[in-house]
Symmetry: C2
């Protein structure tokens, strides 16, 4: 029983009245606060200012015997492939460098599966009658939307503290129309869960019925610790190879939350056979992604050790923001028992699970009070949270004082939603 349920009806009515007054006062302040997107704040962007001018002269543009200004190098500068290879624990030959959004590379793999088929596809996916796709949920709406936009049926998979429910995954991949799964294995979006070693092992050991079943391994937060040191993480590609399905996974990462979200570089890492397939189609599509920006990143980030050291500067900015959110929730919500949440050590989100049926109303109230949040339900396939419970809080973009206001307003709105429901 939560605190409000323990109250008498009169106490609840009084508390509701009090919160309504508080809420009206907040609305009157005409605030505009945003906790919606995992968008770095300006202090984080300023950390990479030096990169803007790190390639200054014509003579700076040569690397690996290549003039980065000119055409060529489909898979990207060798040095950029090496940088990402070291960060992900794979080989440079397994890496293809993309533009400012790894999302584009993910979309491209799915699009190519549709138009041409993956190496193990019996036929292009466009010729399949029905395709199902596994979606650990809550998860990243943009992932879900890619597969939805191609008309697939999305199947939610419950997230456990160890990662996706692997019993369920192992069961569902026996269906040959199940063609793949989205994963954010480290600091999952939104829960901030790091998949356990056991979960990763079970992923690599999957024996799906579909020969072209594909694990979309979005390692978006591979070096994105904000509390504590860098946490090493297993290489899914090598593990799939050991288990005899070397081509089952495509891994992705980017510098969007390392340097500039609007001007980063990204990587697709996969088996050499998949790489040959991908390059064989990409050669019709592009000469290369922006190589000068690859060069800037190579000069600025240098190597894995330097990148991890650099991420500590982000952590200095981010950690106080996460603490602000978590401490406020601990103080305002925990004692009332209206919600629970993870305490992530990396990634970009705090994932709040309200009591069932409160998420949409809390989101609406926040909106009225000038606090923009990711829409309730957005973290579930098709935008439908069966419990109407999950809300994703993104603390990175607002300044600390604004964030404090925003999370306090969130707490007021959640309390109000809970009381409204009880008093209805």
């Amino acid at each position: 029983m939560n605190a409000y349920e323990k109250m008498t009806q009169a106490e609840r009515a009084a508390e509701l009245k009090k919160l309504q007054v508080e809420f009206e006062a907040l609305c009157g302040r005409n605030l505009s606060l945003n906790m919606a997107r995992g968008k770095p704040g300006s202090k984080q962007l300023d950390l990479s200012t030096e990169m803007l001018t790190i390639v200054k002269e014509a003579s700076d543009c040569k690397i690996d015997g290549i003039d980065a200004r000119n055409y060529g190098e489909l898979a990207g500068l060798p040095s950029a492939r090496k940088l990402f290879a070291e960060i992900l624990g794979v080989t440079p030959e397994q890496c293809f460098i993309g533009g400012s959004a790894s999302l584009q590379l993910m979309y491209d793999v799915i699009a190519k599966a549709f138009t041409h088929g993956l190496p193990h596809s019996p036929r292009p996916w466009a010729r399949e009658d029905k395709i199902k796709w596994l979606c650990p949920a809550p998860g990243y709406d943009r992932h879900f939307n890619i597969t939805k936009s191609f008309g697939m049926e999305l199947i939610p998979i419950e997230m456990l503290p160890t990662g996706p429910d692997m019993d369920k995954v192992e069961e569902l991949v026996k269906d040959p129309t199940v063609k793949g799964i989205w994963c954010v294995p480290k600091y999952s979006n939104p829960d901030g869960i790091v998949y356990s070693d056991e979960t990763v092992r079970r992923f690599a050991a999957l024996k799906p019925a579909a020969p072209d079943f594909t694990i979309m391994w979005d390692n978006a937060y591979c070096v994105h610790e904000f509390e504590g040191d860098f946490v090493p993480f297993p290489d899914i590609l090598a593990m799939c190879a050991e288990q005899g399905r070397p081509d089952m996974a495509f891994e992705f990462a980017s510098t969007s939350k390392i340097t500039f979200p609007g001007a980063g570089i990204s990587v697709l890492a996969t088996s050499l056979a998949n790489m040959d397939w991908y390059k064989g189609l990409a050669t019709f599509q592009i000469i290369s992604y922006d190589k000068l920006n690859q060069l800037r990143h190579v000069r600025f980030l240098q190597d894995k050790a330097h990148t991890i050291a650099f991420m500590k500067k982000h952590a200095e900015v981010l950690a106080p923001k996460f603490r602000c959110v978590l401490e406020t929730l601990d103080r305002e919500i925990a004692p009332l028992g209206l919600a629970k949440w993870q305490t992530p050590k990396g990634g970009y989100f705090v994932s709040v699970y309200t009591l069932p049926g409160l998420a949409t109303r809390t989101w609406e109230l926040c909106k009225k009070a000038g606090v923009t949040m990711t829409k309730a339900g957005a973290t579930y396939p098709g935008g439908k949270d069966p419990q109407d419970s999950n809300l994703r809080i993104a603390p990175s973009y607002p300044e600390l004082d604004e964030l404090q206001q925003a999370i306090e307003i969130f707490c007021v709105c959640l309390k109000l939603a809970a009381l409204e429901k009880l008093c209805a």
Copy 2:
């Protein structure tokens, strides 16, 4: 009759002997010269060095009320859309800004037509039994390869001095399986032909049987004059709208041959209805292309007038190279009657038509002598030149002294190929 045909057999044998000796001497020099790709030379790349550091500080990154470093603006910075709109004579709302390769945007339109269908498509193209595509030839191999990679049947259309043979185009579009055509309307690749006003009018007035027939209007050389002043060119989008088929054309351009081929920006311009369709799908694919690079281009190129003035600097580098090629051909080949060619005033190529049956052999001999050229046939759909006649010379990349050697070697090889054939 060409000069060699007029010779006696003995004269021909003597000339062949002389050329063989000359050719062997050239081979012995172990040269490595490249006239293959329309790749700007290093002097051209150096013209944009200032752009490398034009965005220096965090405060430089704000434009149009947007922080170009962060997420957002799917269609690109308003200022970048405005810049291309002015250059192409369209509106900013008609422009979507892409990455370093307009090829990627072209591929993407075709890929989306396959997976989702164009606005007027009865069904996604992946569900069509057969798709035919018109290819003015000689043309750009990368264009042909995109449509070929999607399994389309490529139909060559003869290039006339006024552009593609419009009688043929008008006839063929009566076939509902003919879904589109590639065009390089200004300084066509490789002939350097500027489509006549009449040709452009006839394009806009096409009434194809396929409701989703698409003109892929690759305005790659829109401001790329190297002899004489900027030549204004009609806006195909407005003309299609006037003719009642506003959604029939997608136009493309890029800064690949204005600033840096390996780090430019590109544009897709089309009707507002097509733009809504494109953005509606692109929103699943990307947050935005690199906005800092868009910002660099806006600050560096400024506007149409400044861009055209800047192109004069490219012309200063390119014009002597084209003159070198054309003068050598005039001196060495014209008197013998072994080939003919256009005299382009813009673009990147000299397109040489040898007597039938000499192109492949000339290409082979050049290769032996250390001169890399675009493969004979590459300028035709499927790599098959029915006359084995066309060779594309790209004068931009080598330095002038190297180019002089390369084109002289080309002339020796062409002569040798002609004599070999006559003496065989």
